[in-house]
Symmetry: C2
Subunit: 415 residues, 2 copies
Amino acid sequence: MFHRCQPPSLTTSQQIADGFCSFCWRDARTHERGGGRLRASLSAFNPDKCDPPSERQKFNEGQANGSNSGAKTSSSTETADVALRRPTFSKQPPGSVSPARRQIKEVKETKITINCVTFPLPGEGPEQQLLKPNEWSYCDYFWTDKKDPQGTTSVAGFEVLLQKQLKGKQMQKEMAEFIHERIKIEEEYAKNLSKLSLSPLAVQEEGTLGEAWTQLKKSLHDEAEVHLKFSNKLHSEVEKPLLTFRGDNFKKDLKKYDHHIADLRKQLASRYAGVEKARKALADRQKDLEVKTQQLEIKLSNKTEEDIKKARRKSTQAGDDLMRCVDLYNQTQSKWFEEMVTTSMELEKLEVERIEWIQQHLRQYTTLRHETDMFNQSMVEPVDQLLQNVDPAKDRELWVKENNTGEVRPVDMDI
Amino acid sequence: MFHRCQPPSLTTSQQIADGFCSFCWRDARTHERGGGRLRASLSAFNPDKCDPPSERQKFNEGQANGSNSGAKTSSSTETADVALRRPTFSKQPPGSVSPARRQIKEVKETKITINCVTFPLPGEGPEQQLLKPNEWSYCDYFWTDKKDPQGTTSVAGFEVLLQKQLKGKQMQKEMAEFIHERIKIEEEYAKNLSKLSLSPLAVQEEGTLGEAWTQLKKSLHDEAEVHLKFSNKLHSEVEKPLLTFRGDNFKKDLKKYDHHIADLRKQLASRYAGVEKARKALADRQKDLEVKTQQLEIKLSNKTEEDIKKARRKSTQAGDDLMRCVDLYNQTQSKWFEEMVTTSMELEKLEVERIEWIQQHLRQYTTLRHETDMFNQSMVEPVDQLLQNVDPAKDRELWVKENNTGEVRPVDMDI
């Protein structure tokens, strides 16, 4: 099957295993990882930008070139495992050629597997473009596990994203608490103002001045009402929404994501263990074959050709097993990759929504503050009006009418 | 001496006692009560509007007319005393004519003395115009003493005016107290807001949303500062002035007025007692003269003409005494009248000043309220600004830069 990212000259008749393209080992139909769902997640994903060539591709190239090469096995002493570089050989699966007949060609290490996830080493393979350039998208930046500062354990990148969402939930709860405290302060203030407005202090002041004073006292009650209204709206329009936004289901949903991704990592670890086991088995079989072949050549033992054929067969089987295990591992890693992209995009969206939702509700807070100050100011208007009307002459008239003792002036006494 | 309110035909050669005009018994030079000081108080006072004519005027008229009239004494059964109407007679002071020779002329009662102050009876004498028309001036409405509801004691009209000023002082003190309570409420509110602004709630929120949240919390402290400023200004610009306006000297000044006027009333009472005593003495002398005259006519006794002349002399003296006492009483009443007008005008002015001063300071209160609400509103501006700047994409960039675990994407494992 032709691959659109492969020049026509590099065709191969190698059976395409399990519907995966032999060139890039992606979905043979779409040449993309994971098919439709992922395509939806990565709308900017460019299928022409393949992963760095795999060993299978090298194998294909080797076959086309017809070169013979020896093999040199190398084992890694690092904590991570570098993929065993199979020496190139013509037309034969890993286990079928005697190690002695192989051409040893030094193959550079280009990949590294850390915590069961395989990465290209720096500078190796084609440059990786961001899946979503210029967006600082979660799906681009959380592939590696994060090491604990102490250095012993590590946390999946996905876990970091999940923790952020959980923290976001905590933030909204704390914000609600803050608003609640403000509400209590406002209610206290309103209660105090209201109580003072009922004070009988200077209640005996009469006339226009008395009216102005009465209104001034009343205005405290009006102010109290304004603050009470403010606190009620703070409760219904800011605090309560902050408390109920995303309810309890949210945490359950997050847990689902968490478990789902964690399960896929476990599967990957399991697959990786399988690969390691198959690798060892192959090494054992190859060693056995080598030993037996050498023995035959120096006619050391009475091992027959039959034994060697058997050893060779087992070696070939082991090679096939390894290939199968690597296939399964890569499939599982693809699946995990796909879910990582999809789910981290979901978390990203949730974070955008969270920020915008909180922004909106904090704006509601400032709107209420504005309103409150405006209403509060207007409570002073009637007082101003009455103070403007204060008229000592009028007050004297009112008071004198009420309190005069007599208009008739004294006159001289008669004798 | 001619009197400008007296037609030239009614001249009299009666000695003008103590510099008082014989017609209206006011100051002979100015024909006004009390002279210059009072003139200043009553700028609208019209010297042409004299008090109703006194008995002296009637005496003068009687002399001019040359009529003979009898006398009818009447005694009052009311609590007030009506002036003893001396029967008119020609050219002779009260005590010099035998009661029997007098023509009895019914003289209507036109005045009444209450608590030693003499008033015209309703409908008697020329109509009194207000000293300060259309002004409801204190000097026009507090001449009579106010009876206690229980009916036993009474309070001088002046006392009512004084009490009003003292109450005014009490009012300003109570207003200051009210403002003080407001100050305490504001300080409490400010303290609570300030404390809450330091809350670490949601301090972990980062990026543009975190900045907006931080500013929101800070704005509470800014609001607290506004309310603290408000309370400080309330104290210095409203409460303190209300407490210190008119200080302690004010009450002392009021007491001085009180005592001064009260003393004049006591003097008046004393003069009145003198008049009553002289009236009684005259009645006794007249009775004695009458008895002696009758006895002579019916040749009842061996009383000589000498005895009658003696009795007549004593009667005349008693009449002179009475005239002098009435003069003194009227002088004292004039003095009191003058002081009443001057002092009540002073109290009136004090009340006008008090009202205007309080009006001004309560306006300061409303100004501070306006300012406070405006400052408070402006404390929300920076929060609004930062909320407007909230940018989920920016926050993602910041967070991802800080927290990413790795950009390199996994690749397929090689065999």
